[in-house]
């Protein structure tokens, strides 16, 4: 058996979900005998069978990956409880194993995965989705790219019809059905920054924490910006119109087109609305949310 073949066999075994009692399965979900794989590839010793030696890696994989995932989504764990959270996490990680050298990216597809059936979280599905999106946005805000921000004077004389502003990569815009920002902030107060260590292994499944029961949230739509300023992550609630303009800018609309779309749907007098928009822009640019795009951004 060559190196690649060995590695494929081992990886399949190692990434097979554990039993409920956190042991290696004797038979993988596809019917493959894990014992046969272990016996074929791994030597036993005087204390451990081939199966038991392979099991050490199988358990470490899941302990490590579930702990990392749990640390990234602490709010979701609070809301769902350990048992349901672990079930969802395991299903996600089985469907979407890490494809990045960095554990940081392990939850990158979680939001989109969670939208699809089966809806593990039942009646809390939408709540779970909102929290998952917010917690991923928080990770993105924490270490996402920040370009040199445009200053207000950089675009005061620009033509709105042509000016295309880019939003900082660390900024996420979220339309949420539940006001989960307060909940996540409360959970985050107890957590610390985490980083991966060297080649350490654990005999326990880390990441579980005792938590108070999360308050039952009622659906109340909110619009949220998640961003970084002075290396701290902030949640900022937005007006619906603010959210609409920013979303249009993010989608590549020119400044003029982004504002026009909102003005068209506006009940407020245009002049009053434009003053409001001007105030918003001052605020956004003070927060450093814009950087220079590549198209027609300097026309005056």
């Amino acid at each position: 058996m060559n190196l690649l073949s060995i590695q494929r066999h081992i990886a399949r075994a190692v990434m097979t979900p554990l039993t409920p009692s956190e042991r290696m399965r004797h038979v993988a979900p596809n019917g493959r005998s894990q014992r046969a794989v272990a016996n074929e590839i791994i030597k036993p010793n005087d204390r451990l069978t081939s199966f038991e030696r392979l099991e050490i890696y199988n358990r470490q994989y899941w302990f490590r990956i579930l702990s990392g995932f749990s640390e990234d989504f602490p709010g979701l764990r609070v809301v769902l409880g350990d048992r349901l959270f672990d079930k969802i996490a395991q299903a996600y990680l089985k469907d979407c194993p890490s494809r990045s050298f960095s554990m940081r990216n392990i939850g990158a597809k979680f939001g989109s995965w969670l939208r699809n059936p089966p809806h593990f979280a039942g009646s809390r599905q939408q709540l779970a989705l909102d929290i998952a999106r917010l917690e991923w946005a928080e990770i993105n805000a924490f270490d996402g790219k920040r370009y040199d921000a445009l200053r207000p004077e950089d675009f005061t004389n620009a033509s709105p019809a042509k000016l295309r502003l880019k939003l900082q990569p660390h900024l996420s815009l979220l339309d949420l059905k539940y006001p989960v920002d307060d909940l996540v902030l409360r959970v985050r107060k107890d957590s610390t920054e985490l980083s991966i260590a060297s080649n350490t292994l654990s005999e326990r499944h880390k990441g579980k924490r005792s938590v108070s029961v999360a308050p039952l949230l009622k659906p109340t739509p909110i619009f949220l910006a998640v961003h970084r300023m002075d290396e701290d992550v902030y949640f900022l609630r937005l007006e619906q119109k603010e959210f609409a303009i920013l979303s249009r800018l993010r989608n590549g609309k020119s400044l003029g087109a982004a504002i026009e779309g909102v003005l068209r749907k506006n009940a407020m007098p245009d002049e009053e609305c434009l003053l409001l928009i001007q105030k918003w822009f001052q605020n956004w640019s003070a927060l450093g949310w814009f950087y220079r795009g590549t198209t027609d951004s300097t026309n005056s």
Partner: protein
């Protein structure tokens, strides 16, 4: 011996791993530390506080990069994005050498985030050495490979672990990050004499040494980096220093991390062995 082409001709002393719980202490108290080892992957990001803290550390301290996911032993080619980000970080830290593990951990684009053991075959040695060369050429920095702790051995192996290590480093012409705790852990898990391993390592290729603690279970030992270094590992360290001379040494403590002072004090215990090495050299 200590300053060699595999550690960029540096002569570093005793370092400790840069870990989040110690950031505050380091940045406010500015303790005297010979050097810090960082986990590269923690800083291969686009921005934010980790990079700002790293820049602060770089102003005051010597930093060496240690990776956990290059997977020199994976049968497939290195990930280009990984290499690109790693090079950006190398340029930022100006690390005099870069280390990662003699192991594999990814296949077909899927990552286990673990340090999986190699089958000790000539094919594996050839593939691994080739990848080390490619990475070194791309990053333009000396590479040292670290022996890992392991819990399994393969039927297909054609040599011992230390013979495999020698085969790889000779083919790649690279350095060694000699982890004496990992030698100890594997010697217990696989029933070999750790001194046989240690005495077989080409001393002239040792760029750096790792020391650490581990956890003992009923049927095996796990490399947990959550305890002080035990006496048998210090004995291995003493023998390693006897062979290599005064070599850059790093204490790994990654879980249940105590205060900065406790970690640093534990690391500084290495001084008694390094002092004897210096004395022997002087005589």
């Amino acid at each position: 011996m200590p300053a060699n082409r595999f550690n960029g001709y540096t002569d570093y002393g005793i370092g400790i791993g840069l870990r989040v719980p110690h950031y505050q202490h380091i940045l406010t108290r500015r303790p005297v530390v010979d050097w810090f080892e960082i986990i590269s992957e923690n800083f291969m990001i686009d921005g934010g506080r980790p990079l700002r803290i790293l820049d602060e550390i770089l102003k005051q301290y010597k930093v060496v990069q240690h990776g956990v996911s290059m997977y020199f032993g994976s049968a497939q080619r290195a990930d280009r994005e990984h290499l690109r980000r790693l090079k950006t970080l190398v340029q930022r830290t100006k690390t005099p050498w870069l280390s990662d593990h003699l192991c594999w951990g990814s296949v077909d684009g899927r990552y286990t985030h673990d340090l999986l053991p190699m089958p000790y075959t000539f094919e594996a040695a050839r593939i691994t050495a080739q990848k080390i060369r490619e990475v070194r050429d791309f990053l333009e920095v000396p590479i040292a490979v670290e022996n890992v702790s392991s819990y399994a051995e393969f039927h297909v192996s054609e040599m011992t672990e230390w013979e495999f290590l020698n085969e790889v480093v000779e083919r790649a012409d690279c350095g060694i990050l000699l982890d004496v705790n990992n030698i100890y852990v594997s010697s217990k898990n696989h029933n070999f004499d750790p001194f046989t391993y240690l005495n077989s390592v080409p001393a002239e290729r040792v760029a750096q040494i790792h020391i650490a603690g581990h956890s003992k279970y009923q049927k095996y030992i796990l490399d947990t980096h959550d305890h002080p270094v035990i006496d048998p590992v210090w004995k291995l360290y003493a023998r390693a220093i006897e062979r290599t001379g005064h070599t850059a040494t790093l204490l790994e403590w990654d879980d249940r991390i105590p205060t900065f002072g406790e970690v640093h004090d534990e690391a500084l215990k290495a001084n008694r062995f390094l002092a004897s090495a210096s004395l022997a050299k002087a005589v």
